[in-house]
Symmetry: D2
């Protein structure tokens, strides 16, 4: 299938390119970016080196929209322009979007395959209601994508309340998002709208109405979001039982998706520097699991914000959709 990547020169866009470079199902046919990059070779504007794709010429978004003839679109557009562009494309073409623009619409699913792959059925509703041949499927915000994998496991024990503190990497803010003097030797406990996104996206993805509250911070780490979680369950359980549940969680194992990796790996002391690349960035790491009382537990989880938390998650969504023959 021929695919286009929108916003191909941003950090998430570049990660889409890296992950799709040798993909067995999807072939990068078009690299689309802002007018500023139009006509340039990809290797001359991408920070990360790459192979053959580096020789491809980047198109302006305007030109692409005049003739968007591909089988599939991956969108890493900024939210400010993703809304309109993606809707237009979805009239004819499947769009897998990392933007937040459509996430909160009722007929647009936010998918994490291991958690709520069944909500791909919303595609049909969406096509009917909107009269589209294509559709929009979103993946969640990066912190949520990581967190909900663990919450899905915990939901077997009746999820009642979640308090989460994130320690998010610099790359989550984009290439120029944070100046060195701002974040160097610092922790910044403010990321715009992030708390709201974590709280609301988690509930939508899990389809459950539990209490959840987040404090989000930026730390001087290049890649990999770490999250410390306190959770209250409805059922008594033990650290051992929870650990087993985390380790045995593997709903996609038999689907043979190209981007598949074991979703959760357990390590005593999860650390971004050591574990963010596990499963090529698609595995999250859980650890420091502790019991507070019969029904309250704490743990730490981390994952690669640009892979599992963005481009990789979106590609896994497309793979699942393809496998289920929706496309």
């Amino acid at each position: 299938m021929d695919v286009a990547i929108l916003g191909a020169t941003g950090l998430v866009g570049q990660m889409f390119v890296r992950l799709l470079e040798n993909h067995p199902w999807f072939k990068i046919e078009r690299l689309v970016a802002s007018e500023r990059s139009k006509g340039k070779k990809y290797k001359d504007i991408a920070e990360w080196p790459s192979g053959d794709i580096g020789e491809m010429e980047v198109e302006g978004l305007g030109d692409f929209l005049k003739d968007p003839d591909v089988d599939l679109v991956f969108s890493a557009l900024p939210s400010s322009i993703a809304g309109e562009v993606e809707e237009k494309l979805a009239e004819k073409t499947p769009v897998f979007s990392n933007a937040s623009s459509h996430r909160y619409e009722e007929d647009v699913p936010i998918i994490v395959p291991e958690v709520n792959g069944d909500q791909l059925k919303l595609i049909e509703v969406q096509q009917e209601q909107r009269g589209w041949e294509g559709f929009i499927v979103t993946n969640p915000n990066c912190s949520t994508a990581i967190l909900v994998l663990s919450l899905k496991v915990l939901s077997e024990f009746e999820l009642k309340k979640v308090n989460v503190v994130t320690m998010q990497a610099i790359s989550g803010a984009g290439f120029k998002g944070l100046s060195a003097l701002q974040i160097f030797d610092n922790v910044i406990p403010y990321i715009g709208k992030e708390e709201w996104k974590i709280e609301n996206e988690s509930r939508k993805i899990l389809g459950l109405d539990f209490e959840i509250s987040a404090v989000t911070t930026r730390v001087p780490v290049s890649h990999g979001h770490t999250e410390a979680v306190f959770v209250e369950l409805g059922q008594d359980t033990t650290v051992e039982e929870l650990r087993r549940a985390f380790e045995s969680f593997d709903p996609l194992r038999d689907l043979k998706l190209p981007s598949y990796a074991k979703p959760i790996v357990y390590k005593e002391i999860p650390q971004p520097k050591l574990h963010r690349e596990l499963g090529k960035g698609m595995s999250v790491t859980v650890g420091k699991l502790g019991k507070i009382n019969e029904k309250m537990f704490k743990y730490v989880i981390l994952g690669h914000n640009l892979v599992r938390g963005a481009a990789g998650g979106s590609i896994l969504n497309a793979e699942l959709t393809y496998r289920k023959k929706v496309i």
Copy 2:
């Protein structure tokens, strides 16, 4: 009053020196360290430059103990040796200790002047029970010293449950505590015994039996511990009322202690790089105060781990003790 600083060459010891260099009440008479440093000039082993004190000669601990003739001892000894040494000294001399060795003994107070200065009355009990002329007063672990200032304010609203995640600075582990390759580009969610200390010291200092659970992490920040806190109160209140309570908290104002600073400063987005030096490191900064529901709130607090969290806290304890004429 003539004072000795034990463990004068470590990070906390050096902070004691800096803070006492021009102190109006306490005069550094003796600098005591391990045998390795014995006989050297202070300026040749201290990382931080300093003035006249740099010319003083460092004594070995063994020599000091043979003739510990000072009015007051500040101890920045490692816990492994502080236990025995401090007990011996306390037979004759007041000891203000940053070590954890005696913190959990019933007749030894852990003091944060703004929170539980009244517990200095334990000194009398301690002297009677142990037959000492001197005594031991401790200050809490660095994360606790910062946190309890806010919990004291919240206790006016009936403290029921606290979940706290710390993001602690490198200097909390001592000068050689963390190698650059370990913590560079990393978050390490493990600090030995720290969670236990925070939970138990907080309850002892406040004299309250509330639920408290901590996850402690190390982040690549030089100085300043940041803590994200979720708290459940027994009484309904509002963000505005809590903020006012934080800002008006100032129990020591009228005591004219030399190290006094307003204990809590409110900033929208507290950050170690911008705020750790407020009040010369003695003020903690609270911010990001938010309401989760009627009785649940969240906020961020930070403070200088070597000043308010260690040497500065210990000196304030000595000042309060002196002001109250216990010494």
Copy 3:
């Protein structure tokens, strides 16, 4: 004397404010910045906290130029606009500028007081030629300001050839100059025009025509430029003699200038973290002095790029000018 600071909200502008806050001769009367900052309180746009000055209102540059009634102007304007603005102001008012716009004009001196204070005599030439009542005096580029202090000393031994490699701090690029992902875990051996500036400004300031070549790099350090220097002299000498020459260099000692500090301090291993604040940022540190052969030596020098290398240097220029009764 009433002074205005132009470009008061940038990093150099803020350093001017800090250094002038309690200055005995100069009083900050006007804070001038771009239209964007106009009308705001200084404390609401400056990254660094400050005292009373924080309450002052910032003026737009346009408004200021309509009525620039002060005794002295310090300019931290970007070069792109400094040229024209400073010329206009200099018709009536002394301007001490950190911008590069006028540095290379024949009748504008680049002053480092300890090196070429006598070139203040160019002011008279400038006023005559241009028909101005005021004048423009510049300070050099930050790396040069640090380097030439040592080259002045070496010129006593006949300076023949200099090879210098700079390792420059992030703050030299301004608050937003470098994104965290660019410089984090990196060395970037490119700083636009910097090599040319070092080579040409050094020769102009010293008034000597020696060979000099620079390689300039950016390193992940917040403040403090470090420079490694190879130098060929015309006379034989020894490490000991050179060290004595560095340490005894102190031409301003008797002038009682408020910003005076010993210009050169010798330390075995100069390091930005330990030594950038020496002399309140006005002293540079020389060390690692070694002999290659009879006439070739190497050494390391470092200094605070925002103080000695920018605002502090400019203020020292104004103090010297005032002391010499030019103003």
Copy 4:
């Protein structure tokens, strides 16, 4: 061929393991470390995760020496013990050593295959003189290994004088070599004996007696040494000609060595973060080439200190030796 890795748990030792894990000629049979690690699984003591090798048990050095039955030894031992151990092993076995212990002995070659592969002929001399069946071949110090690749190219233009400033990565000091507080926000212009090593090893490897002087510094970069070089040549040339010479340098191209990569890559602005992994860490990057005058040039070079500068260089030495049928 069955190989043993001595010092397998240090940073260089771990890099040997990584690079040999799927090597077509060499099979890791024995992992040898200090007594402290004896009997542990490799994965439990190595910071870097690895595959099957992680299950191997680590031997103590004492046990290994009793029965060192392998075809080849790679030594990443600390210099303090490498001297004696390597000599004993070399009686029977080829030893490729990253330690400096034997580098300066006349009959022990320091090899960089692209530069002086022909000096492998010293092996025969060594065996004869010492009565050994095995031998010792060393690779240079990390900074030298990178630098000499460029000096070899420049020697075609008659090398007269070199001034080099290194900006070396933290990992060059070993896992615990630098504490975070030492190097964080700092440049440290001191690395024990490094200047001497660069100067003397470069001359020995090139077999030329040119003037060379180094200043060595440590910078807060995880991996990748950057070096700024000033060079005086005996022949006139141009930047273009030098660049062509760098780019066309490729003496090993036709030997089909498993670790082969193009030795020198040219990039306008070489940076450790972007280029240290080129050629899987075996390529060095040259750039910022500039002309000072007819015969003086400057450039920047960087390479991966643990790969080209240590384990990778040593493995390439073994491959070349094997290809030339010395083993």
